[in-house]
Subunit: 438 residues, 2 copies
Amino acid sequence: MDFAYNTKFPLVVIIGGGFGGIEAAKKFKNKPVNVLMLDKNNYHGFWPLLYQVAMGSLECESIAFSLRKKFDNQKNFRFRVAEVKGVNPVGKYVETSIGDIAYDYLVIATGSTTNFFGNKDIERYAMPMKTIPEALNIRYLILQNLEAAVLKASKEEREPYLNFVLVGAGPTGVELAGSLAEIRNHILTKDYPELKKEEMKVYLVDFLPKVLGPMSEEASKAAEKFLRGMGVELLLGTKVESYDGETIVFEGGKSIRTMNVIWSAGVMGQIPAGIDKEKIVRGNRIKTNVYCQVDGFTDIFAIGDVAASITEKTPNGHPGVAQVAMQQGVNVAENILNIIENKPLEAFSYFDKGSMATIGRNKAVADIGKIKFQGFFAWLTWMFIHLISLMGGRNRWIVFINWVASYVSYNGGNRLIIRKFVKETADAQKNAVTKADQ
Amino acid sequence: MDFAYNTKFPLVVIIGGGFGGIEAAKKFKNKPVNVLMLDKNNYHGFWPLLYQVAMGSLECESIAFSLRKKFDNQKNFRFRVAEVKGVNPVGKYVETSIGDIAYDYLVIATGSTTNFFGNKDIERYAMPMKTIPEALNIRYLILQNLEAAVLKASKEEREPYLNFVLVGAGPTGVELAGSLAEIRNHILTKDYPELKKEEMKVYLVDFLPKVLGPMSEEASKAAEKFLRGMGVELLLGTKVESYDGETIVFEGGKSIRTMNVIWSAGVMGQIPAGIDKEKIVRGNRIKTNVYCQVDGFTDIFAIGDVAASITEKTPNGHPGVAQVAMQQGVNVAENILNIIENKPLEAFSYFDKGSMATIGRNKAVADIGKIKFQGFFAWLTWMFIHLISLMGGRNRWIVFINWVASYVSYNGGNRLIIRKFVKETADAQKNAVTKADQ
């Protein structure tokens, strides 16, 4: 296959069109390289707003942008929809679903996936939320379970359909909990006159004793107060033991009957095959040096969630956030150009712009350097930063209109079940096993 | 099950939340009836814009609206997601996926589905476009085939992926052809620098010798001129003989290699089981009297695409358009109330507001009574009418922004493959048969 805009230039293959891959590719504009980006999807997703897709308040397409369209004015850029199966560092090629592709420089920017910590039952029955189809599945499951609840005659029968358990109290869990509480508080009885507000319960679970673990104490405390005020039940310092699709059991024996478990308790790097095991560190991340080079190579780089630049200052690598990936994307492109131009490499240094989480209407928390603030102004800031970070003017307008409509009406979002989601249940599973046994 | 807001009032069951069902339900607001609407989806779809969902220029959720939300301020309205399996006119109940439901009055507003005229191969391999998932499948198929074309080395190998054949030159076929031509003319080489405009071909096929059959001669001629000007190849007076997923063959022997066949050549009523065969007329529609009552019943009504009010003036019933369904929805509600109040029934009379079709940027045709106009003003009118007809202010704004963005940029829409569509092919089919035979 021929990906060369100019055959005199080397080919940089970037695996992944996430925050890191995009920034790297952009930096190569008008530079003496050919860029080929591979991604299993033809779009870039703005994951910080994915929970709003799951909650039905945004269309999935307003948080995503076509990778081809994004780069349609960059002549040295090519794109292919492809799944990368492995890397061959000796032969200098990647094995993909569309054939082997030789590279001169390789950037692994494959991101992370949900970590179920080896619990197969949880993996089978709980809902992960790391991709758009997964977010849509959550939306459809929730709506289907509300529809199912309406059909049940007794409170006891309705209970598992109306209990929502969010495992993992990081930004995703907190934002989901806040959104679900708002659905309960403002929308439930409008849409479902048959249901009672009190019957819908939202639980937020974490094995840590606080929400938003990596943020400041102020942010964590404020978020807990906001969540409690909205009626979210916090189960902190609580470890999940098992989930069979119908009942979630916690260490110590407490359990909740629920058909709705969303799992955002951990992530792990998605590493293509062919990377030596000794180069893989905690969280399934690839060990890199300060130049984002994979340990032992000068032509293979790794950035973002899949990489861990292990230094004295960062013994576990950098946090798995978009800002790290974006800054590493720029660094990796500069360093590849430095190599080509025989210039010295530049060490990566992370500039932490801060972190934020939103809980609901007028409620957010922000840690920006030493400045920590919570409440209405944090919420405005959160919205502004997320709006301007979205890709595409059209997307920005559409998200803005959705937010205004939600704010004014207390009843945003369309809540449509476009494709039914078929959830595995313990019973369905038992039946499947029985059939296989026959 | 209990659907009664007021147990003293009779229960009207409406099957279907389309144009007809919605108008009927609205008309019952604050009237002495209980209304139960059943639909297999939890939304109402604005089908005149469905082709824009298929073409990737609109998100599916901007043309759909939650049925629960639509009626959240109508106290005597209840809704259930349910598939209706059959009607029992003697026992006065409907059989559904959520159990049997007794009615006092029944309104069948189940609409129509794609008519493949009994050709099983076409049904298997061609793409229908009557539902949102079907429109999304078309979008994904087209995008996947463009991605596939990029991977092919020779023009001959690319050909079937880049030939688009639209069967049926009614408004849907014409609108799809125009949109595909615009994608070819303005977007193809921007998104896919590897492809050539000339290699993508759009064919519009109809067995009639003209496009937009039921519209005026002026509209038809203008549409043909617009389409030809945009590079659409018209195959009129041409009948499809077969399609095996790779080659479409026409009567007389001409054939086109194509992986992309969209079938909008006909519709047929979707009738629940339990309606006597002698009450079913041409196009699989239920024969009704002028009061929209199903022939022989006073408590069962049928409206919209599934119904044919056969009179001397309308020997084939009314055209299968939204306006008929909406006006019949109003009539049916009034007549049910008339029966309850012992008043005489009112005969349905259709007020034809005219018909329109859009071909592309600045190009549309309109027949409004005796006034016929084409071109820019018709296009503006088309947009205005479709915008104000959409349900929900949010949807209107979002569609408006999408249209403005497309008009300004010549590059609207996001064109994302959210869920891969797996198309059956003749080969896959052959393999499947082989496996089953083993």
